[in-house]
Amino acid sequence: MLTISDLHVGYGQGTVLQGVSMVVPRGTVAALMGRNGMGKTTLCRALMGLLTPSAGSIRLDELEIGGRPPHRIAAAGVAYVPQGRGIFERFTVEENLELGVAASGGRVPAQVYRWFPALAELRRRTAGTLSGGEQQSLAIARALVSEPRLLILDEPSEGLQPSLVDEMGSLLLRIVADRHLTVFLVEQNLALVRRIATIAAFLVDGRIAGGAAARDLTPESPAIHRHLGL
């Protein structure tokens, strides 16, 4: 279970997150939605330890991870797929996956290749030469090799065609059920949110401006209009 309480995070002078609180129960997918510039990526980076909160707390089960260095947070069972995927383009697919277990000294579990069979064939390829969909698979696979408890996904559907988003959604649902994984999903794609998330929260100007059951959301929902509409 992920518990965020009264989290404040800022860069330099300005505070981007001004008291965010959220609870994501174990084994569920929680979506965070909102327009660009509302602080979604800032929240992801703070969860991963890449930004230090100025106040508030982040707990993973009973463990306080807020303000710890990222490698400690990773060791506590948090994995991160950043916006833009964060692939090491000049490394091979296999090396990218190996980096996911390099810190723990383990090996890449064979299960990952069963989830992403396409990657098995691409093992020796340079990651930068993969298609967008393959790179997204690689980024998610790399996050999963460490067998995390919490998976942070920042805009995973970005730049993917709808059929690939669909495929990714099904696979994520299967993995979440298999591993009892908790997922913190930042996403603007309503179809994907409806498909895999249980709850959706809306981030507006660094604060949570409301939440809803994900399956109740439609493009016509007032909340979607207010927080995502143009």
Partner: protein
């Protein structure tokens, strides 16, 4: 034919041993620059400390071949302290690290002057014997030095290309944030890399100690050609270092036989300027 071999073989072997030593110095520099983005102007002084460590240890009665690895480890330990106290505090401030390491270089040089005096000291080669190689005879120590330097170069290249430490170090260089998010302690990787670079400088200094006079100012004479070699070969790959040191070190050493050392250096600078003019990012491009 025999006369030609007699005349050329020792020159080429001298050049090769200089190139290999220079490559050790340059490799340490480029590892630190490539992975940490730090231009370490105290690298020549680390080299000098390696030479002093060997000279002192042998003076106290330690066998030379024991003193060499001890000197490398000692300089590596100094690198650990420099990294923790200085480099990591200036991370992401390239200009400040240049100034800080320049100041450190002065402090190390003057520290050695205060402790051991400005005079140079010399050290006998551990094996004074010559080896007969076909038509020529050549000092055994220089051959041992070449073999050891080549082995360390290959081992370092393999360390970065093939091992998990190398993989994490390359990852920490390419995307430090992503590496950290994958659980890699980026700071520790940086520190180990700096220690490795320092130890390489220390090893080169230790190996050269029996061949040149050991004095507090000896570092500069190797730092400048090492930088030049990196500029010529390119810092994007470790292969570039070897090409650059081959050209700069080889030309410097060979020309020094016919010209005065000063004239040789002028020619080397001229070659370097030309090479940089033709290929500003170095002769060897990144893969």
């Amino acid at each position: 034919m025999d006369a030609l071999i007699l005349a050329w073989a020792p020159l080429l072997l001298d050049a090769l041993s200089f190139v290999l030593l220079l490559a050790l110095v340059a490799l340490g520099l480029v590892v630190i620059f490539g992975l940490l983005g730090v231009i370490n102007l105290a690298h020549g002084e680390l080299f000098m400390l390696g030479a002093y460590a060997v000279a002192l240890a042998v003076g106290w009665g330690a066998p030379f071949w024991l003193a060499v690895p001890v000197a490398a480890l000692f300089v590596g330990a100094i690198g650990w302290v420099i990294s923790a106290v200085l480099i990591e505090r200036l991370a992401a401030r390239p200009l400040d690290t240049i100034l800080a390491t320049w100041g450190l270089a002065i402090a190390l040089r003057q520290g050695v002057v205060l402790a051991f005096g400005p005079q140079s000291r010399s050290l006998d080669a551990p094996t004074g014997a010559d080896v007969v190689l076909g038509a020529i005879t050549y000092p055994a120590y220089r051959l041992q030095l070449m073999a050891l330097a080549a082995a360390v170069l290959v081992a370092t290249l393999l360390l970065f290309a093939r091992t998990r430490f190398g993989l994490t170090a390359r990852a920490a260089m390419a995307r430090p944030d992503m590496a950290a998010a994958l659980g890699i302690d980026v700071r520790r990787v940086w520190r180990r890399t700096f220690v490795l670079g320092a130890a390489l400088a220390g090893l080169a200094g230790a190996l050269i100690a029996p061949l040149i006079s050991v004095d507090p100012y000896m570092g500069l004479g190797f730092l400048v050609p090492a930088f030049l070699a990196i500029l010529v070969g390119g810092s994007a790959s470790l292969g570039g270092v070897l090409v650059g040191t081959g050209i700069v070190g080889g030309a410097d050493s060979l020309l020094g036989h016919w010209l005065s050392p000063l004239a040789a250096q002028i020619v080397v600078f001229f070659i370097a300027v030309l090479a940089i003019r033709v290929r500003p990012t170095g002769l060897v491009r990144s893969p």
